[in-house]
C-alpha cells in the first residue's frame, strides 16, 4: 500500500468468477474419471491443448475428443516460493511445462519431486487429481 497520506476506502469489492466450461465439459468430466483427453479438429487434424471446440488453425467447428497421452518430458520448470494470497495455504510448488509424446505441451504442477531433483529432459507422467473442493485438475509426477 502507499505510504503517502491516504483515506482507506469504505467500499470493498470481492470478485469470484464462474468459470464457463460448457464447450470443454468432456475434458473436466473425463478428468473426474482419471482420464486425460483433448480436442482434435476433424477437418484438419489439429490437436489442441488447452482443448478448444473451435479450431484456431482452420476455424473448423467440428472436433473429436482424443486421448491426450500421459508420458511427457520436462521442458522447463520453476519453484514458486512467494505465492499469490489465494494460494497462501498451499506449500511452495513446482510449476512445470512438459512435452507429451504427441508434441503437445502442458503446464501443470510437478509433484513428488524436490526442486534440486528437477532437470529438463527428465521423464514425467501426467495424473489426474481432485482439489479439496472437488474440482478436478492434473499434475506431472516423475515417470
Amino acid at each position: 500500500m502507499s505510504e503517502e497520506p491516504s483515506l482507506h476506502s469504505r467500499r470493498g469489492l470481492t470478485l469470484k468468477f464462474d468459470l464457463p466450461v460448457s464447450k470443454t465439459r468432456e475434458f473436466w468430466d473425463s478428468l473426474r474419471n482419471k482420464k486425460l483427453v483433448t480436442t482434435k479438429c476433424t477437418k484438419c487434424g489439429n490437436v489442441c491443448f488447452p482443448p478448444q471446440s473451435d479450431c484456431p488453425k482452420c476455424m473448423g467447428g467440428e472436433f473429436e475428443w482424443v486421448d491426450l497421452g500421459r508420458d511427457a518430458t520436462l521442458v522447463t520448470y520453476t519453484h514458486v516460493t512467494v505465492r499469490p494470497p489465494s494460494f497462501a495455504d498451499t506449500a511452495p510448488y513446482i510449476i512445470a511445462i512438459g512435452e507429451l509424446s504427441s508434441g503437445v505441451k502442458v503446464l501443470a504442477w510437478l509433484e513428488g519431486v524436490r526442486r534440486e531433483e528437477a532437470k529438463p529432459g527428465m521423464k514425467l507422467r501426467m495424473e489426474a487429481r481432485s482439489s479439496m473442493e472437488g474440482n478436478p485438475y492434473y499434475v506431472f509426477v516423475r515417470a
Binding site: E4, V80, V82, R83, L107, K119, P120
Partner: protein, 367 residues
C-alpha cells in the same frame, strides 16, 4: 497522489517541452493496465484533470507494453492524417492495493483459467520458466542474472527520477530471497506508481515547433499465445524477434546502427533474452554481453542507462512511454550523468507486455 495528479506531472512537462497548446492536441491515448487502482475510466479522469477533455481519447491495454500501445495508437492517428498533434500518456497506480493483492493480480496476467486457477502462476514464475530453459540450454548462470541487477542499480543511482538510487553488490543480489527459483527479489522489478508523456506531431508541424526533432523511424509490434504451453521455446520471446524485425525493416536500420537502447528488464533474464532477440548478439550470447560489459555506458551498445524497469521502476502502463522519453533525452544529449555517446543518432526502445504476450520495438532518430 491520485492517477490524475500523477499523470499531470508528466503531461505538463511534455506540453511545456513541446511548446504546444493543449487545445490543439487532437488525440490523447492513455496507456494503463489498471485493476489495482480505483478508477475504471482512467482516460477521462486524466484528461479532465489536465484540461484535455474534448480531445479524442481512450485507454489502451497491452499489459506492461500498454505505454507503447498508446504511443503506436497516437502515432498511427498522425500517420493516417487524423491528427496533426497527438499525445501518448502512460500512467499506473499500483500501490492503491497491498503488495499481495498486486502479486495476485499480476499472476493472472496470462491465461487465467489454464495457468492460474489450478497452478498459481506468478509473474516471476513466468520468467523463471524462461530462466531455467536459458540456463539449461546456454549455460547462463544465476551470477549472470545478478550482474544485470547490479548494472541496473548502478545507473539507477545516476537517475534522479529512479525508484531505487542505490548501488548493490553481486553478493547482495545473489543472497536475496528466492521468489520463483532461480529468480530472487533482486532479479525482479518493483511495484511502482508512475507516469510519462510524449507529444507527437506531424512532419510539417514538427518542423515549425522545433529545430531539434526526434523522429519515430519505425514501430514494430507483435504478439504470442496467451498460454505459455503453446510457445515453441522458452529461451527467448518470439514476439520481440518479430517486432524487432518489423521495426528495423520500417526504419531501414539494423542493430549495428543503435547508439543506445532500453530493453524490457522486468526480470533480469528478460534483459539477457532481449539482447539476443533484438539482434544485439547471437542467440545464447546474452550472458556474455553482460559479463563483458558490452551493454554498459562506454560499451558496444549501452542498455537501460536510466536504471531500467529494475531500478527506475515499472509503473506498468507508463513504462513504454517512459522508455521513449529516455531515448529522446539520450538523442538530444540531455540524459545528464547517464548520457551515452551518440554517434549515428539512433536509439531503440523495447517494451514487452506480459511474458512476450505483446512486444513493441520503437526506433527513434534525430536529424
Amino acid at each position: 497522489m491520485s492517477i490524475g495528479e500523477l499523470a499531470f506531472e508528466s503531461i505538463k512537462q511534455a506540453v511545456d517541452d513541446a511548446r504546444v497548446e493543449r487545445k490543439d492536441i487532437g488525440n490523447v491515448v492513455i496507456g494503463n493496465m489498471g485493476g489495482w487502482s480505483q478508477e475504471s475510466l482512467p482516460a477521462v479522469i486524466v484528461d479532465e484533470y489536465a484540461g484535455l477533455s474534448g480531445a479524442e481519447t481512450m485507454r489502451v491495454e497491452a499489459a506492461c507494453a500498454s505505454g507503447s500501445a498508446a504511443l503506436k495508437s497516437a502515432y498511427s492517428s498522425i500517420l493516417g492524417g487524423e491528427a496533426d498533434l497527438a499525445m501518448a500518456v502512460g500512467v499506473e497506480k499500483m500501490t492503491e492495493v497491498d503488495t499481495s493483492t498486486a502479486v495476485e493480480l499480476i499472476g493472472r496476467a496470462g491465461s487465467y483459467f489454464w495457468e492460474f486457477e489450478n497452478f498459481g502462476m506468478t509473474f516471476p514464475a513466468y520468467y523463471a520458466l524462461h530462466a531455467v530453459a536459458h540456463m539449461n540450454r546456454f549455460g547462463t548462470t544465476e551470477e549472470d542474472l545478478a550482474r544485470v541487477a547490479v548494472k541496473a542499480h548502478r545507473y539507477g543511482a545516476m537517475n534522479p527520477l529512479a525508484q531505487f538510487q542505490k548501488e548493490i553488490t553481486l553478493e547482495r543480489a545473489l543472497g536475496s530471497q528466492v521468489v520463483a527459483w532461480p529468480l530472487k527479489l533482486y532479479d525482479a522489478c518493483p511495484l511502482t506508481d508512475g507516469s510519462a508523456a510524449v507529444v507527437l506531431a506531424s512532419e510539417d508541424l514538427a518542423a515549425k515547433l522545433t529545430d531539434t526533432p526526434v523522429w519515430i523511424r519505425g514501430i514494430g509490434s507483435s504478439s504470442d499465445s496467451a498460454n505459455l504451453s503453446r510457445r515453441k521455446s522458452y529461451v527467448g520471446l518470439e514476439a520481440t524477434v518479430r517486432a524487432a524485425k518489423s521495426a528495423y525493416s520500417k526504419a531501414k536500420l539494423g542493430p549495428e546502427d543503435i547508439d543506445v537502447a532500453t530493453a524490457h528488464d522486468c526480470f533480469t533474464i528478460a534483459e539477457l533474452m532481449a539482447y539476443e532477440d533484438l539482434g544485439f548478439c547471437k542467440k545464447g550470447e546474452g550472458a556474455r554481453m553482460i559479463r563483458e560489459g558490452q551493454t554498459e555506458l562506454g560499451g558496444r551498445i549501452p542498455v537501460n542507462l536510466d536504471g531500467g524497469l529494475k531500478a527506475k521502476g515499472h509503473p506498468i502502463g507508463a513504462t513504454g512511454v517512459s522508455m521513449v522519453v529516455e531515448i529522446t533525452k539520450q538523442l538530444r544529449g540531455e540524459a545528464g550523468r547517464h548520457q551515452a555517446p551518440i554517434r549515428k543518432g539512433v536509439g531503440l526502445a523495447h517494451n514487452v507486455g506480459g511474458t512476450g504476450h505483446y512486444a513493441y520495438v520503437t526506433i527513434l532518430a534525430r536529424d
